[in-house]
Amino acid sequence: MTPGHLLLIAAVAMFFGLLGGRGAPRLWLTAMLVGGIAALLAAIQVFVSGAQWDWRSEFSVCGEPLHLRLDAMSAVFIALLGALGGAGSVYSCEYWSDKAHPRSARAGRMWWSAQLLSLGLVLLSSNGLHFLIAWELYAVSSYFLITLDRQKREVRAAGWLYLAASHVAGLFLFAFFAMLAGRTGGWDLGPMRDHAELAPLFWLALFGFGIKAGMFPLHVWLPSAHANAPSHVSAIMSGVSIKVGIYGLVRFSGWLVVPAAAGWVVAVLGVISAVLGVAFALGQHDLKRLLAYHSIENIGIILIGLGFAMIAAGHGNAAWGRLALAGALLHVWNHGLFKSLLFLGAGSVVHATGTREMSLLGGLWRAMPWTAGLFALGAAAICGLPPLNGFVSEWLVYLGLFDSLIAHSAAARAAVPAVVLLAMTGALALACFIKACGVVFLGAARTNASARAHECGPMMRGPMLALAGSCVAIGLAPLVFWPAVARAASAWNPAWAGLEAPPSLGTIGVANVALTVIAIAAVSLLWRRTRKNGLRRALTWDCGYAAPSARMQYTAGSFAGIITEWFAWILRPLRHRQIPDGAFPADASFEEHTPETVLEQLIEPAGAGALQVAMVARRLQHGRLQAYLLYIVLGLAALAAVVLFGGGR
């Protein structure tokens, strides 16, 4: 079967799920799995053969012939879509079941299929007009998925914010594609590397796709949307949807000529996103919001890779750019895998306890060992710890940056701070996930809700296991996955053709396997010894206090307090404190909340100002007929003046 046949099967299955999935969950799940696997296989075929699939229709849709193209670059994202779409579909059957959510489960299935279908179309479309149509469909279906639980006020607010941001992004993309079509004379897309006059259009694409990707400071919609959506939706949004923004940037920076400064701007935005994303994550007390800010951080890492690749492409296609780009693309996969795993784990926690608030959780590992273990694995992967996949892709980005230093390239000066800040990001991410895992899964239960938690069922555990397995697989055998990103890199820049892997990648694979073997041996040894000798339980050291309670544990805020203090200039945490006073203090309290600074300090005041101006203009509409007639007279007079004196005669 050719990729075309497989994609047709996938599309038919998705379409079937869209139309027939409302009332029949099992049938729907089968269709989704068939569709996901078919898309994944199509991508794999492209990776193996290296040939792109290109199809033009005889008929036309909206006045343009349909033009679909699956090259290695699209295939990277299609593979991710197929894998995460399938995993999320299985997960949703238990997590958002008809029984628990009679009002929204059916609609949820329909919009889920619609979103996967439209995302696939965005990734395959090679015609600007159809790209925009698919893009809007995807934005709208995403909105309905985010607001599945729309009885809650904050969910509706998050949905509106998402929709507004989507519209702004859409506006930029309409401008981008329209101007592209205007200057090239057609909507058809493809490599246009010899049209130097198209370069300034890249800024429009950067804005439009940057909003979707959640690049700092255009990320304002992302935290609330990810936090308030159902977890399988958060997983696909973080795993695939925001990657579509990256896809747009990668796609059009590869196909078009970019301005000379574009690479630098993307790299700087990447560094800012990475560092501030993790800083904001540290300030969060909501588990899913914390994960959402880590998406911004990881988008930053991907952008660093892409930015340096663009710089390299602009300076004679230096080889280190290929490594940076390959690292970025592999990180697209890796972040998709481990972030979905983490969101599904968070969903399992929410499902069991009914809250996302970390200070109400605690001690969950006893009740939910699978969730705790898999979440910890995802956390280790996102922190870039060996032997997992995050380490491999970040290694490639680092390798690109180091090679640019060694080559004394134009980017060498920028590479040093980028490396330092990337390393800092990794360290902060580690701190943040120690906080998240520690507060949620370790210690003692802080509330009854977390004390009564239960492990999730097989339909939720299965997808998490599969995602965790892929994280381990990429970590242990990076060379297996290398050809895919190498082919995508050569699709991005033909000068970087060839499949040869950097030698250290194989070494890393071997080292990771060795590390895994040693770790497994050590764990089994420890396990055997504890089984033999038994465990002795004792009180933790309690500073001499005789009656410790669960409330005396480290909270999310206190654990991260020192680090958030470093970033207080941008986090601007709100604190309400009542300090204990006197020998017998009556009561004391401390509350801390980290707002979305860019949204609340920048965008909301600007929006309020715009609204005020609009309200002034609104006074013109008051319902008095006489005044309306006056407007007409004035309008006519103005037109007459324009005609008579405007030089048009």
Partner: protein
């Protein structure tokens, strides 16, 4: 020919100012009727080759504007028991000053327009512009529905004057259609005014602002 046409248009322009200045409803209606008659007579003087078609249009205009519409308005006033005094939101004197200024501007401004040579000597275009302007002043400056109808009629007279420029190329059907529209509109407005009066005890259009959205 041209002098009698100009005389009639001049009369209509004078009636414009009179309409702006009068404070009683029945007299405004009478002024509008007189203006309609004066304008309706113009085709008789304009035509060198006097055709039955043009005569029909002229006679119809005189009949509808001079008799039918004023009658409808008077009847509406009687049934709705409308106050005979006009409440202006732009006072009578300012209205007249505005109207006079507008008339002068119209005469002046018409010279800026690229007109055919046979129309350049007449007051047709200035008269049309002045009537349209007067109609707008009445529409904007008066608050009761019935005085707005009068403003609308004067506005229509201005449009009719512009239509006279094209009398040869406009078919009879269009002319009679316009007349019929006008009659029906006034008829309907008469009924609506009655209904509004019964429902709200007032015909002040300033109070009809609830449905603005």
């Amino acid at each position: 020919m041209s002098s009698s046409v100009n005389l009639l248009i001049g009369l209509a322009m004078g009636l414009n100012l009179l309409a702006l200045g009068s404070s009683r409803m029945p007299s405004v209606i009478r002024i509008v009727a007189a203006q309609g008659v004066a304008l309706g007579l113009i085709p008789f003087f304009m035509e060198d080759r006097f055709g039955w078609l043009v005569a029909l249009v002229a006679a119809g205009t005189v009949a509808v504007k001079g008799l039918v519409i004023p009658n409808l308005l008077h009847r509406a006033m009687r049934t709705a028991k409308i106050d005979r005094e006009i409440e202006p939101s732009i006072g009578f004197v300012p209205s007249m000053l505005l109207g006079a200024g507008g008339t002068m501007a119209a005469v002046d401004g018409a010279q800026l327009l690229p007109l055919l040579s046979e129309h350049a000597g007449t007051l047709l275009v200035p008269g049309a512009l002045a009537s349209i302007f007067t109609g707008f002043i009445l529409l904007i400056g008066r608050v009761t529905a019935i005085s707005q109808v009068c403003g609308y009629l004067i506005l229509d007279n201005g449009i009719y004057l512009i239509g006279l420029l094209l009398i040869h190329s406009t078919p009879l059907l269009v002319e009679s259609g316009i007349l019929l529209d006008l009659t029906v509109a006034v008829f309907v407005i008469g009924i609506i005014m009655d209904r509004i009066q019964r429902a709200f005890d007032s015909l002040d259009t300033r109070k009809l602002t609830v449905l603005r959205e």
